[in-house]
Assembly symmetry: C2
Homo-oligomer: 356 residues x 2
């Protein structure tokens, strides 16, 4: 039986993607070769890389003033690589701290320049997105984490600043339209809305580059990967291929505006149940609730085990909350069908009928 | 029709691995989940990572004084990361230059310490492995490229030194037994004998670490990945899973001693034909010939197109030589069946019968 997979990431991908991705491992495009054994210099893979790049551009409305790269090392590598490439020793960058991922980005950037943390929601265990702060004029960029998977918060509106924004969008990229002009850089580990783990998407405005005067190891220099179209060394062929399939699926579904509408509906369905059900409550302030990661707890913690058991019996997996928040977390990325959210909501109702 | 895949990498993997790897994309271990959607913190993936680690240890006879890591970024990342972690600003390391990959490793290491290139075969377009050189006493390590995919050379014996060796074994790891005690570190991009592209194996003697006093970004510090068992951040789940399947296959075949025997037989078969066939000749000196990448040319270059055409019609792919050498390159890694080498040899005989 196919499970209802609410994991925070790696996470659910569209079922048709799994089917095509499996077939390609046996025989890619009827070539007599597995996708796992084709050269990264082959016309077949060059075409996959080009299509993935173009689909990212089409979905987010990205023009030729931005570079689109498929790298490795996850967002964790971008935490330092972005600052290494974009923030000079004597330059200032502003950061907003909305949880563990922001905090890690801040820690790594501090090696390379003057990092000003202009706002933080740490005082309330990161249950909100800060609203009142000033970004210093002359900052090279303002770094944000657009969605926090652990605490279940998400920016609804971009910060009010003219400074170029760098966003770690690992957990909400392609979940809604974006105003690309506001961004100096976007990065995202693939393993939520984009594909399986093993590749990292980087979108970079050309004007952000080459302003630090710093000498950088070849593999850490964005210019290396720009000049070689993300294939300076052997790229992660299969993860990029599965991303390309997922991006095609996104286009077929109608793109990111359609996704936003569906994601809002799915999230509302679940948040309404959390708010109306007397046994449960949400963990973040209402206006900053994430539409990707819905965090909630049982008011009576002693019922937790029973609820998790009931989920398991219903084929619901990945619902246990992160240890920093406790309780439960339902990650409802693009590929999550509304039907699975309904299964969860019905189960919560039934649980309360029996335990209230 | 299944092709005879002589690509240098990504390259052929065992057919049973493709079959299991495809099934896991649809439904991993009958869990109702695709391997692409399972959490890297799930018991299922933790077990895969542990098994892959143990299989590497079992196959190469590696004890607890070494760490075994699955990272990302390829050998190209290890070129600088090894020196960043292991070579202090005022320390000396020796390097042997046997081709493009060595040269890149040398270039990146020069950022971090005193790099002495103790020998090079550049004078003869890298068609041999240097034999006469001295490694300075007190060198932190001696870096070698154990097999050169482009020029088709391979170390038959390790350099005569007491200095710990660091070897880039990307293209011949698991092709033969090794004397692990001689190595301070081994690294290898997965995409030849180990698995698909997307992960990098690092084997590291514990005593090599923490001798530079250098502060290192979290993701570039080997200690980070050691402390978190290669899962500090989200690892490339699928590439590591397919490596684990390939390592299981290696054990089932009888291990690296059996591989060495088969690889020697396959290589001899092809080199004999190159030496006996009046139209062809090898490009490297006989005693340093690689058993992984067999490089050869047609004495009459005008016949090249015809030979490549004939190969294509016979289902032979990936046989074109690298532009630095020209001609042909037959990569005959562990997973290459003897039958495919026989097809190539028969085709060479037939080509000569018709064109000599």
């Amino acid at each position: 039986m196919k499970k209802h997979n609410f994991s925070a990431g790696p996470s659910i991908l569209p079922q048709p993607v799994f089917e095509q991705a499996a077939q390609a491992v046996l025989n890619y495009n009827n070539s007599g070769l597995s996708i796992l054994e084709i050269s990264h210099r082959s016309p077949a893979f060059v075409a996959i890389m080009e299509e993935a790049n173009q689909l990212v551009r089409d979905l987010l409305g990205i023009g030729s003033d931005y570079e689109v790269l498929f790298l490795t090392g996850g967002a964790s590598t971008q935490f330092f690589m972005s600052a290494l490439n974009l923030l000079g020793d004597k330059q200032t960058a502003a950061y907003i701290d909305t949880g563990s991922w922001s905090a890690k980005a801040i820690k790594e950037a501090q090696r390379y320049g003057n990092v000003e943390v202009v706002a933080s929601s740490k005082d309330a265990n990161y249950n909100y997105i800060p609203k009142e702060y000033a970004v210093p004029d002359g900052s090279r960029f303002l770094h944000i984490t657009s969605n926090n998977t652990i605490f279940g918060t998400q920016y609804r509106e971009l910060p009010d600043t003219r400074v170029p924004i760098i966003a770690d969008m690992s957990s909400d990229i392609f979940s809604r339209p974006i105003d690309i002009e506001r961004y100096g850089m976007i990065y995202a580990g693939a393993q939520k809305n984009l594909g399986p783990s093993g590749t990292t998407l980087v979108i970079l405005h050309k004007e952000m580059l080459n302003q630090t005067g710093r000498s950088i190891p070849t593999m850490l220099d964005y210019n290396t990967h720009i000049n070689k179209k993300s294939a300076f060394n052997t790229p992660p062929v299969y993860p990029i291929y599965v991303c390309m399939l997922t991006l095609r699926w996104l286009i077929d579904q109608g793109g990111v505006a359609v996704m936003e509408h569906r994601n809002e509906e799915k999230a509302n369905l679940l948040y309404e149940e959390i708010d109306n059900n007397i046994l449960f409550e949400g963990t973040t302030i209402t206006q900053d609730r994430s539409r990707m990661n819905v965090t909630f707890v049982l008011k009576n913690k002693e019922l937790e085990e029973a609820f998790l058991d009931k989920c398991e019996r219903a084929g619901i997996v990945g619902i246990k909350g992160h240890r920093s928040v406790g309780g439960f977390r339902a990650s409802i990325y693009n590929a999550m069908p509304r039907e699975s959210v309904e299964v969860l909501v019905d189960l919560m109702k039934d649980f309360t009928a029996k335990n209230a």
